[in-house]
C-alpha cells in the first residue's frame, strides 16, 4: 500500500509542513517553475538536445506499465505471455497509423536516432493522436535483442536534483520525454 512520505523526511524540503504551490529555490526560479506551469513537450529535452529532430520524429514515445507485469518481473511468466499472445505490442491511434500505412496486426518498428523497438501494431481509437505506446518490461529476448529503452535518453529535470531524499525526491530519468516515429516492417 502506498502511504504519504513520513513527515520528518518530507520536512527537509517542505518547510511549511503543508502542500506548497510556490517554491523559491534558485533552480525553480531559474526554470520558471516557482509556480505550477505548463511547458511545451520536448522544448527543453529533445529539441534542446538536437533541434533537427523537430518534425522528423512526430510521435511521443510512452513506455507504460503492462497489465501483465510488475515492471520487468513476470516478463518470462508463461501464463502472462499466454494472456498477451507472446506479442510485444505497439499501440497507435488509428489516424497516425493510417498516415504511415500501418494496419492492425502489422509488425511495426518504433525508431529514432538512438535505437529501435519492434512490436505488433494495435490500433486503439481511445488513444490520443501523436503518441506511440510501448509496454515497458519486455525482456530483450522477446524483442529480437532490442531494448525499448534504447529509444529513451537520460534527461533529468533540474528541479529533481534540488534535494536527495531517496524514494521521495531524487533525480530520475524523464522516460517519457522521447520522440520517435513508426514504420511498418512486416505483416503478421
Amino acid at each position: 500500500m502506498s502511504r504519504p512520505a513520513p513527515l520528518e523526511a518530507a520536512a527537509k524540503f517542505i518547510k511549511s509542513g503543508r502542500i506548497e504551490f510556490y517554491r523559491e529555490e534558485e533552480t525553480f526560479r531559474r526554470s520558471g517553475e516557482s509556480l505550477p506551469t505548463h511547458k511545451r513537450p520536448f522544448a527543453e529535452s529533445e529539441y534542446a538536445l538536437n533541434p533537427s529532430v523537430r518534425g522528423k520524429y512526430r510521435l511521443a514515445y510512452i513506455t507504460r506499465n503492462s497489465l501483465y507485469r510488475i515492471h520487468s518481473n513476470h516478463s518470462n511468466n508463461l501464463w502472462m505471455n499466454e494472456l498477451e499472445d507472446y506479442r510485444p505490442k505497439v499501440f497507435l491511434n488509428p489516424t497516425d497509423a493510417a498516415e504511415r500505412g500501418i494496419k492492425d496486426g502489422d509488425l511495426v518498428e518504433l525508431y529514432n536516432d538512438r535505437g529501435r523497438v519492434r512490436g505488433q501494431a494495435v490500433l486503439d481509437p481511445g488513444q490520443g493522436p501523436g503518441i506511440a505506446i510501448f509496454e515497458q518490461g519486455w525482456w530483450s529476448r522477446y524483442l529480437e535483442g532490442d531494448s525499448y529503452n534504447a529509444l529513451t535518453y537520460p534527461f533529468i529535470k533540474p528541479t529533481n536534483e534540488v534535494y536527495f531524499v531517496p524514494g521521495i525526491w531524487a533525480p530520475n530519468t524523464a522516460w517519457n520525454e522521447a520522440l520517435c516515429d513508426a514504420r511498418k516492417v512486416g505483416e503478421r
Binding site: 497489465l67 508463461l78 501464463w79 499466454e82 494472456l83 492492425d104 494495435v122 486503439d124 481509437p125 481511445g126
Partner: protein
C-alpha cells in the same frame, strides 16, 4: 441446493485475476484456460471495439455456466459429465472416453481437452525441478467419482467445477474469493435469502445465449454503459 454465480459487469475491471488464479488453483497445464476474460468485439483485450454508433469497451468473463439444461451432459455417451446434488456440472475424469462430443455441444467454448499428458506439457514449460502448482490432492464426490486431480489423465475433457474442492468445504470458488473488484457473487439459487438471490431480485440478471434454452446458473448484470 443449487450453486449459482452473479457477475456484475459494471464492477469488472478486466484485470483477469480470476483467470490466473483459476489456472493456478486448478493446476491447469500451459495452453489450457478454464476461465477467460475478453473485451467483446475486440481483437485485443482492453482495446475498444467498434460498435453501433461508436465504440464499446466492457469486459466479459466466461467460464462454465453450469447449465440446468446442459448440452454437454446430455451428449455424453457414458454419463461422465453429470450434475451433482449442489447443481455443479462435473466430469468424472476416470470415466470420460475422450470422444469430445461435449466440446462440439457446449455453446460457451468452456471445455478443454487434454490433447497430451498435462505432465508432459508442464515438463516442457521448463518449471524448476520439483515445482508443482494448484490444489495438490485428488478430490472425489460422494459416490467416489474423481472430479478433481492436479494432473488430469491424457485424453479426457476438463473444465470449471465451481472449484468443487473448495465449495465442498463451504468455501467460495477461487475466482470469487480473489476478484479485487468484488464483481463476482456466489451462492445458493434455491435459498431465497442468499446474497445472489437478493441481488437478482433487485437487478435483472442476464444469461449468455439465453435463446438456446440452456438455462445457465451464471448470471451477468449487464454494463449500464458499454
Amino acid at each position: 441446493m443449487r450453486y449459482g454465480m452473479v457477475i456484475d459487469l459494471d464492477l469488472c475491471v478486466g484485470c483477469r485475476t480470476c483467470a490466473v488464479v483459476c489456472k493456478e488453483h486448478n493446476a491447469q497445464a500451459p495452453g489450457t484456460w478454464w476461465n477467460r476474460v475478453f473485451t467483446p468485439g475486440s481483437k485485443y483485450h482492453q482495446i475498444p471495439a467498434e460498435a453501433e454508433g461508436g465504440f464499446s469497451m466492457y469486459y466479459l468473463p466466461v467460464s462454465c455456466m453450469h447449465c440446468e439444461n446442459a448440452p454437454c451432459e446430455k451428449v455424453c455417451p457414458v454419463g461422465a459429465t453429470y450434475t451433482d446434488e449442489r447443481g455443479r456440472v462435473l466430469i468424472d475424469y476416470e470415466r470420460c472416453i475422450g470422444c469430445r462430443y461435449c466440446l462440439s455441444a457446449c455453446p460457451y467454448g468452456v471445455r478443454q481437452f487434454n490433447w497430451e499428458d498435462p505432465k508432459g506439457a508442464k515438463a516442457r514449460a521448463g518449471y524448476q525441478e520439483g515445482y508443482s502448482y494448484g490444489y495438490p490432492f485428488p478430490h472425489r464426490d460422494k459416490e467416489g467419482r474423481l472430479v478433481y486431480t492436479p494432473d488430469r489423465p491424457k485424453g479426457v475433457v476438463e473444465k470449471c467445477t465451481f472449484c468443487v474442492q473448495y465449495t465442498d468445504k463451504g468455501e467460495e470458488p477461487i475466482c470469487v474469493q480473489s476478484c479485487p473488484a468484488g464483481a463476482r457473487l456466489f451462492g445458493d439459487l434455491d435459498d431465497p435469502n442468499s446474497r445472489i438471490n437478493q441481488v437478482l431480485r433487485k437487478e435483472k440478471g442476464e444469461r449468455l445465449l439465453e435463446e438456446l434454452g440452456t438455462k445457465p446458473k451464471v448470471f451477468y448484470l449487464p454494463p449500464k454503459r458499454k
